[in-house]
Amino acid sequence: MDPGRKRKIRLVVALTAAVLLAAALVYTSFSASIEAKQPSQLLVSPSGTSAELTGRVVRRSVRHDGAALRFRVADRNNARASIPVSYSGTVPDPFRGGREIVLTGAVRNGVFVGERDTLITKCPSKFTASNDG
C-alpha cells in the first residue's frame, strides 16, 4: 500500500474513534447529570423530583435533630421563597446561616432530603463584591 493511502486510512480511523468517544461522552453526560434548581422552582415541583439544590441558607434556621441537620434554603436573590431541608452526613466547615450551598437530593412531601455527603458550601466571599459574612 502506498504511504499516502496508509496515512489517510490512519487518519480516518483516528477521527472515527475520536467522534465515537465524543458521542459517548455527550450521551452519558446528559443522562448522568442532575439539574440545578433554586428553592422557588422546587416549591412547585411534585414530590419525588430530584435535583441539585442551590441557594442560600436562611439565617437562624439551622437546627440539629439527632444525626440530621435541618435548615431552610432560600433563593439566592429572593429570601422569601424558601424550602425546608433535611440532611445528614459531613458538614463542610464554612456551612452556616447566610451561606450559599449546593446539595444533591430529592423533594419528599415538601421537604428537600439531601443525599449523604453531597453538601457543598461555598467558601465565603473571597472575591465577592458584597460582604455578608
Binding site: F30, E35, A36, V102, F127, G133
Partner: protein, 806 residues
C-alpha cells in the same frame, strides 16, 4: 500618602506597558534602538509594579486601614504572617499579583533573549506588554478593583482575614498557581512572535522551553499544595473533588504537559509545528479561563465565586487571544509544514504523539464536564451539573493509559527501534510488571478493582523501565570514565539534565498515581458517634474516645476530642481532632450564643504513614453548650433589665449601660466592659462541654498509600527542578547566548542522546552508526555557518571532545 504614590506607580506601570508594546513594534524591522528601549521599559514596569506590591504589603503590615483592601481583608488581630498573605485573598490584590508576576517573567524572558531571536522578540515583547497593559488597565479602569482605593475617614480596625484562609498554605498556594498561570504568557508570546515573523523553526521553543517548564512546575506545585490543604485542613476529607476551580488549574497543566513533550519532537524532528502552536494557545487561554472562573460566578463551586466587574473583560481577552491566534496560525499554514515525517510507530516521537492525544482528550473531557452546566443550559434551558463519579469514570482510563506511556516513551529511541533492541529494553520492565500483577492479584484484594490493578501493573512497568534507564546510563558513563556507580549516576544525570530530570518527573507521576488509585479504590470510610469512654473498630483499628477537650483563645473556642487508636493490642496513635468556632470580628457581639454561630473550621486528626493514613474529623454535639449559652443570654438580659432576683452586680452594670446610653462618649468603655463579661461567660459556658459527656460524631477514614501522592509530587517537582536548572555556565561563551550557540548546544545534546540510547541498548549498532553520522554532519553545518571555517569545525566535531560525551 501610600495611596497616592501607589496610584501614580500603577498608572505609570500601565503607561510603561503600552509604551513598551509601541516601542517593540517600532523596532520590528530590526531597529535595535527601539527594541532595547522597549526591553528597558518592561524592566521599568517591573520596578513600578514591585513598588505597588511593596506599598500594599507595608500597608498590610502596618495596619493602614485607610486603604480599602487592608480594611476589608486584615485586622489588628490578624497574625502578621497572614497579613502578608491577605493581599491575594482580595480581588484587586490578586490582579496586582498577576500583573507583578507577569512583569517578573517578561523581564526575565527578555533578559535571556536580549541577544537572540531578533525577528521574534519585538512581537513577543508587544504581546507580553499588551497582556500586562490589560491587567494593569483592569485595575485602573474596570471599577471597584483599584488596590489603592482609600476610605475616609480611616476605620479603626479591619474586617479581618477569613479564618478558613488562615492556614500556612494560604501563603504559597495562590502565588504558586498564579505564577503558573502567568508564566504560560511567555511561551505564548514567543509563539505569536514566531508566527508573525515567520521564524517557525525551533528557535522560539529553545528560548522559552524553560519558561514553559517553570509554568508547568509552578502550576503543579500549586495543585499539589491545594490538594494537601483540602486533605489536611478543610475537613472535606479528600484531596480532589473535581471542583470547577480545581479543574481550571488542572486543564492548563495538562496542556502544558502535552506541550512540553511535543516541543521536543519539533526540536528534534521539525514536525508537529501547527500542533505546538495550538497547544500553547490552548494552555494560555485555559490559564486565562482559570483566572476568569474564580471571578465570574458562572459555575457552582466550593471556591468563592462572586460576580465581579472584571469577568467580562477577561472573557473578552480570551476571545481576542483565541480568534487572533487562530487567524495567525491559519495564515501561516504554509510556513508550518513539517520538515520530516514520523519514521515508525515504534519510535519515541510516535509515543509522544499518542501521549499528546491522550492528554488533550483528557483535557477536553474535563473541560466538557466542567462547563457542562453552561452547555446543558444552552440545550435544555436548565443548568445541570456532573458530579465526581462522572469525572472519575471518564478520567480513569486516560490516567491508566498515560501511566503506561510514561513507561513506554523513555524506553524507545527517537526515529525507530529495532525488534532486537525492543526485546532487550522491554524484557525486564514487562517481567517485573507481570510479577507485580500476579503477586497483587494473589496476595492482596487489589483485584477487586480492576482499574486500580491495571494502574499498579503499568506503574510497576514504568518504574522498572525508568530504573533500567538510569542503570544503563550510569553503566555507560562508568565504562567511559570509571568511578563508582553513584558517581557515574550523578555525572550522567547532571550532564543530561533534561533527559534524566524528565525521567524523574515520570517516576514521580507514576508514584503519585499509585497513591491516587490506592486511596480512591481501597479507602475505608465510617462515621461513628461515640460518647467519652466508648470505642469503635474501623478497618482493624480500635478508636477510643478518651475525653473531650475545650480550648479557649482570644480568637476562637475549640471543642475537640482525644482519641486513642490501637491496633493488634498496641497503641499506634493518639489523635486530637477538633472543631474551632471563631468569634465574630468587627461588629460587637449581641449575645453569647453568637460566639458559637461564628465561622467554624475543622482541625483534622491525622496519623500519616507509608502504608496508610488514619484521618479523623470531629463533629462535636454542642447542643447542650448552646442551651447553656441561651440560658446565659437570658440571664444577661434579665440582669440588664434588673429583673427581680438578679445578683447585685447587675445594678452596677445596668447603671453603666444607662449612663452610656445618655452620653455617647462613655459608650466604648461600657461596650468593652459588656463584651469582656460576655467573653468570660462564653468561656465558662464553653468549658462546661468537658463535663457534659456529650456524644461526638467522628468521620474516620483509613486511606491506603495516600502519603505517596505527596512523595510522588515532590519527586516530580525535584525532577522538574533538575530539568530547569541551567547547564554549567562555563560551557557558554560569556554574555553571548546567541541563537547559533543555542543551536549548537541543542545538536550536541542530540548527539549525546543518541550515544546514551546506544549505550542503553535502545539503538542497534547499525542504527546508531547511521544516526550518529547524520547528526554529526548537521553539527558540522552549524559550526560552518557559525565561524565560516569548515576545516576547523570538522576536526572539532570529529574529535568529539570528551566534554561532550555522555
Amino acid at each position: 500618602m501610600t495611596a497616592s504614590v501607589g496610584s501614580v506607580a500603577l498608572a505609570l506601570a500601565f503607561l510603561a506597558a503600552i509604551a513598551a508594546a509601541v516601542m517593540a513594534l517600532a523596532g520590528r524591522n530590526g531597529e535595535r534602538r527601539w527594541v532595547d528601549r522597549s526591553r528597558r521599559t518592561v524592566y521599568a514596569m517591573f520596578g513600578l509594579l514591585t513598588l505597588c506590591v511593596v506599598l500594599i504589603e507595608i500597608a498590610f503590615a502596618t495596619d493602614d486601614f485607610s486603604l480599602n483592601i487592608v480594611q476589608q481583608h486584615s485586622s489588628i488581630e490578624t497574625p502578621s504572617f497572614y497579613k502578608l498573605a491577605a493581599m491575594w485573598s482580595s480581588q484587586e490584590g490578586s490582579l496586582l499579583l498577576w500583573a507583578w508576576v507577569l512583569s517578573i517573567a517578561a523581564s526575565a524572558a527578555l533578559y535571556a533573549t536580549r541577544n537572540r531571536l531578533r525577528e521574534v522578540v519585538p512581537y513577543a515583547t508587544a504581546v507580553m506588554a499588551g497582556v500586562a497593559a490589560f491587567f494593569t488597565g483592569l485595575m485602573l479602569f474596570a471599577g471597584g478593583v483599584d488596590p489603592f482605593t482609600t476610605l475616609s475617614p480611616a476605620p479603626a480596625d479591619g474586617v479581618g482575614l477569613n479564618p478558613l484562609l488562615q492556614h500556612p498554605s494560604m501563603m504559597i498556594h495562590p502565588p504558586m498557581l498564579y505564577s503558573g498561570y502567568v508564566a504560560f504568557t511567555i511561551p505564548f508570546a514567543f509563539a505569536v512572535g514566531a508566527l508573525v515573523a515567520r521564524r517557525l523553526d525551533a528557535a522560539w521553543i529553545r528560548a522559552t522551553r524553560r519558561f514553559a517548564l517553570i509554568a508547568w512546575a509552578f502550576l503543579g506545585l500549586g495543585l499539589l499544595l491545594g490538594a494537601r490543604w483540602s486533605y489536611s485542613e478543610l475537613g472535606w476529607g479528600g484531596y480532589w473533588a473535581w471542583d470547577p476551580v480545581e479543574n481550571a488549574a488542572l486543564m492548563p497543566w495538562l496542556m502544558g504537559t502535552a506541550f512540553l513533550h511535543s516541543i521536543m519532537v519539533q526540536e528534534k524532528r521539525g514536525i508537529l509545528k501547527v500542533w505546538n502552536a495550538c497547544l500553547i494557545v490552548a494552555a494560555f487561554s485555559l490559564a486565562l479561563l482559570g483566572t476568569f472562573l474564580v471571578r465570574s460566578g458562572v459555575l457552582q463551586s466550593i471556591h468563592a465565586f462572586g460576580d465581579s466587574t472584571v469577568g467580562p473583560y477577561i472573557l473578552g481577552l480570551i476571545a481576542v487571544v483565541l480568534i487572533g491566534s487562530a487567524a495567525l496560525i491559519v495564515s501561516r499554514l504554509d510556513d508550518l509544514r513539517s520538515e520530516k515525517r514520523i519514521d515508525s510507530l515504534a519510535s519515541r516521537e510516535a509515543v509522544f504523539l499518542v501521549n499528546n492525544l491522550l492528554l488533550v482528550a483528557l483535557c477536553a473531557t474535563i473541560f466538557w464536564g466542567t462547563f457542562f452546566p453552561l452547555i446543558s443550559e444552552l440545550f435544555t434551558g436548565e443548568k445541570a451539573s456532573l458530579a465526581a463519579p462522572w469525572f472519575d469514570r471518564y478520567t480513569t482510563p486516560f490516567a491508566i493509559a498515560l501511566v503506561l506511556f510514561t513507561g513506554v516513551g523513555p524506553l524507545l529511541a527517537w526515529r525507530r527501534i529495532s525488534w532486537a533492541a525492543a526485546k532487550r529494553v522491554f524484557l525486564a520492565p514487562v517481567a517485573v510488571a507481570a510479577a507485580v500483577g500476579v503477586a497483587l492479584a494473589l496476595l492482596t484484594d487489589a483485584a477487586d478493582s480492576p482499574w486500580a490493578l491495571a494502574l499498579f501493573v503499568f506503574a510497576a512497568f514504568a518504574l522498572t523501565g525508568l530504573a533500567q534507564e538510569f542503570w544503563r546510563g550510569a553503566s555507560a558513563r562508568r565504562s567511559l570514565s570509571g568511578g563508582s556507580m553513584a558517581q557515574a549516576l550523578l555525572a550522567v544525570t547532571s550532564r543530561n539534565r533534561r533527559r534524566y530530570g524528565g525521567y524523574i518527573v515520570h517516576a514521580g507521576v507514576a508514584v503519585l498515581l499509585i497513591g491516587v488509585a490506592a486511596s480512591s479504590s481501597f479507602q475505608t470510610k465510617r462515621d461513628v458517634t461515640l460518647r467519652p469512654g466508648e470505642s469503635a473498630v474501623v478497618d482493624g483499628r480500635t478508636v477510643t474516645y478518651k475525653r473531650p477537650t475545650v480550648s479557649v483563645s482570644n480568637e476562637a473556642i475549640g471543642f475537640g476530642a482525644v482519641l486513642a487508636v490501637d491496633q493488634d493490642g498496641k497503641r499506634v496513635a493518639v489523635l486530637r481532632p477538633s472543631r474551632r468556632f471563631f468569634r465574630p470580628t468587627g461588629a460587637p457581639t449581641e449575645t453569647i450564643g453568637s460566639f458559637f454561630d461564628g465561622e467554624a473550621t475543622s482541625e483534622v486528626g491525622l496519623k500519616a504513614g507509608p502504608g496508610s493514613d488514619l484521618w479523623v474529623a470531629d463533629q462535636p454535639d454542642i447542643a447542650a453548650v448552646r442551651r447553656r449559652a441561651r440560658a446565659a443570654d437570658r440571664g444577661f438580659r434579665a440582669c440588664l433589665e434588673e429583673a427581680p432576683g438578679t445578683p447585685p452586680q447587675c445594678r452596677a452594670l445596668s447603671r453603666v449601660m444607662r449612663a452610656a446610653g445618655a452620653d455617647p462618649r462613655l459608650r466604648p468603655a461600657a461596650l468593652a466592659q459588656l463584651e469582656a463579661l460576655q467573653a468570660a461567660a462564653a468561656e465558662r459556658v464553653a468549658t462546661s462541654y468537658r463535663a457534659d459527656g456529650a456524644p461526638a460524631t467522628f468521620r474516620v477514614i483509613v486511606n491506603p498509600l495516600v502519603t505517596w501522592i505527596w512523595i510522588g509530587g515532590l519527586i516530580a517537582l525535584s525532577g522538574a527542578l533538575i530539568a530547569i536548572w541551567p547547564a554549567r555556565p562555563a560551557r557558554r561563551a560569556p554574555g553571548a547566548a546567541t541563537e547559533l550557540e543555542a543551536l549548537k548546544e541543542a545538536k550536541y545534546r542530540e548527539i549525546r542522546d543518541a550515544e546514551l540510547d546506544h549505550a542503553a541498548g535502545k539503538l542497534s549498532d547499525e542504527d546508531f552508526a547511521l544516526l550518529d553520522a547524520e547528526l554529526r554532519r548537521e553539527a558540522v553545518e552549524i559550526l560552518n555557518s557559525a565561524n565560516g571555517n569548515g576545516t576547523a569545525a570538522r576536526t572539532h566535531t570529529r574529535q568529539s571532545d570528551p566534554e561532550n560525551r555522555i
